[in-house]
Symmetry: C2
Subunit: 412 residues, 2 copies
């Protein structure tokens, strides 16, 4: 009976951790197993091994990328062992036929450079002293054909083509290279190699994460928990956050830029960001939401708090407060005597549409820019210009404003 | 202009070889390329590398297995370099999940024993002094994950599931293990490793043989010719020849047994065996066939010649003649004073149907046996027994006959 009588202190901690880890999680296989693993870790004093894998394909991280990283940080803060896995081996493998949509081969130099850039940003989130950075070439490089065949024998073609992007492409008669079948298997094998207790990933990674469970089971290991985070929606509230869509907040952006971008999102999206992109306790978020709904809290104030929270995460609390102050000065108090974001433009003269779309990237398409201009929202040094065909002479220090939330100082 | 002017002696030899190599061939990719390769070989004095791969899964060879081996021998006799490839690596790989119909793993001892048995039989056909026996573990063992990924990247899922047995199983919801995709690729890689000019195989191997061409092309090699032999039909004229169906002629069988089995085939099948299983020149075969059609040649004489030809291949001409003489004594001259095939039966008494079907294997099903008995074709010591329910007391030396061509002496 001893085993079934549980220590209330341990149980309280199990509950606390479980709540923290499942916050903002979109899918989980399975909560019951996670609870068991946390309890066992607390009882034995052996931390859980928590894996997050990335490909060193290189790019600036935005707060969407940061969602699983921040989940990893939660595990780290609660004393678990974080393994930040870099797919050095898989990145080296390109697709020589060029017929498929698999990633392209990267040179060793590119990979090294990308890893450096990546880790420089990751350290803004994780405590690198406590983070075990591992590279999958360390165990994948030594696999031979016989090992590969044993891995392959554990899966069927039918299982593989259940993955939605594969079945979609097969239906659409678009080629699926056999090498693509290897990526989920190798990702799963990584979990075996590091004996992961938990693997984090985005929801779209579910198929791959589950392959780790398959391989661990066949290898006689305890199966990892698959903890899947949502894909963060971009500032536009529609597309997923990405650099190419210019709807992102980069984690190394300046405080005022971060804050300004947060202020541009819809009220609806704000609650999603609160849950997924901040550490504000769920109870508080709930209270804020109720306040907005019953009119006791102004949504603008709520959004300003979100802006400060996000700046605080990637900079610090002081910067969070200062960014709010700056924003209130620029937009709310209409005071120009503050540090404005700057944009360098080399042209002598430029059409207004080109200025807003191509140079400043304020709009994705020309139609939005045209509408704003016609409505008088486009101002140079506080003078509206309503002619969409007007040319603007570029002068050092001129202030360009587009609507209420986009402002920039031109430098030559 | 020099290059286009061809040497008539060379051209005559090209023609001779091309005719020999394409005899009895069911499919060929492509005849034009084969002609070019033969010509180049004659002009440069460099023999073609001709590959035939087998898996050391072990079994007694029958004259169906011998079809591609005898084709290989033709190349050998015309001075080309024969590579007899044994799939030592692939035989080692089983399917640990046991879920699929892939071959089972073999132990190193089994493999060694099977190879010995195999080569002991192969030397009845090939000149082993001139045969290069190669083992694919020699190059496959050293392949690493990166090499495997490069191989995989050269094929798509869609290409693979074009192979009929794969698509059939996928349609029927029967699992296809991913490891099965590797076999054709590795077979193709074997061709790259030995730089094969020609690969022989059965028609059902076409998909796999063509993968060698794909990989050679991508590796910058000249593509191999795929020369596909028909699957030999068994003595029953319906199923493919196989030991398990007991419709085969083993290449190590005694001359009289071989001859007797040949005599049991249908007149129609006889022409197929003449072409595919003997060296009788095509012109002669054509003349024989015309003779039978216009009544100038008796089909029984034609079949006896076929029997002698086949015995000659696996034994010698003298044995071929003696077997014919024996057969004529036993069956045509109704003389019992000859060596009869013997069958050992331990039972004291047995039902007539069981005797014909289970003990002697004269029939596959009971209905054929029943019909023969009822028609009076079943005789014990020349006495017909027409009661299908009769019990026969087994005595040492008794002669059992079923129809005209099946006769056996019982030994206890």
């Amino acid at each position: 009976m001893e085993n079934t009588e549980r220590n209330p202190q341990v149980e309280a901690e199990v509950k606390r951790q479980l709540e923290a880890f499942t916050r903002g999680v979109e899918d989980l296989v399975s909560e019951k197993e996670l609870e068991k693993k946390i309890r066992k870790s607390l009882e034995t004093g052996k931390p859980l091994t928590v894996k997050l894998g990335i490909d060193p394909t290189g790019s600036d991280l935005h707060i969407g990328h940061a969602v699983p990283l921040r989940k990893l940080k939660q595990f780290q803060e609660m004393g678990h062992q974080v393994k930040f896995l870099i797919g050095t081996f898989t990145a080296r493998i390109g697709d020589p036929t060029g017929k498929t949509e698999t990633r392209k081969m990267l040179s060793a130099e590119d990979i090294a450079k990308n890893i450096e850039t990546y880790l420089d940003q990751v350290k803004l989130i994780l405590d690198m002293e406590k983070t075990d950075v591992v590279y999958n070439h360390e165990w994948l490089e030594s696999l031979g054909l016989e090992d590969v065949l044993k891995l392959l024998s554990q899966f069927t073609v039918q299982q593989m083509i259940q993955r939605k992007d594969f079945s979609d492409r097969i239906k659409a008669d678009k080629p699926v290279s056999l090498i693509e079948f290897m990526y989920p298997i190798l990702q799963g094998y990584d979990s075996v190699a590091i004996e992961a207790d938990v693997e984090l990933g985005a929801t779209e990674q579910k198929f791959n994460l589950l392959r780790g469970r398959d391989l661990q089971k066949n290898a006689g290991q305890e199966q990892q928990i698959c903890l899947m985070m949502p894909i963060l929606v971009g500032l536009d509230g529609v597309e997923k956050m990405s650099k190419s869509l210019n709807n992102y907040i980069g984690i190394t952006e300046a405080p005022n830029d971060m804050f300004g971008k947060v202020m541009s999102i819809s009220d609806e999206l704000m609650w999603n960001y609160y849950e997924v992109a901040t550490d504000v306790p769920m109870d508080e978020i709930k209270a804020l939401k109720e306040g907005v709904e019953n009119g006791s809290v102004h949504p603008m104030d709520c959004k300003k708090r979100l802006g400060s929270e996000i700046v605080t995460i990637y900079h610090n609390a002081e910067e969070g407060a200062k960014a709010r102050e700056w924003f209130e000065n620029v937009f709310s108090k209409r005071n120009m005597d503050v540090d404005l974001p700057e944009a360098k433009i080399e042209a002598e003269e430029i059409g207004v549409i080109d200025l807003l779309v191509k140079e400043l990237g304020f709009f994705k398409g020309t139609s939005d820019a045209r509408r704003l201009i016609q409505q008088g929202g486009f101002k140079v040094n506080d003078e509206p210009i309503k002619d969409v065909k007007a040319m603007v002479k570029i002068e050092d220090g001129m202030i360009v404003r587009a609507g209420k939330k986009k402002i920039v100082k031109i430098v030559k």
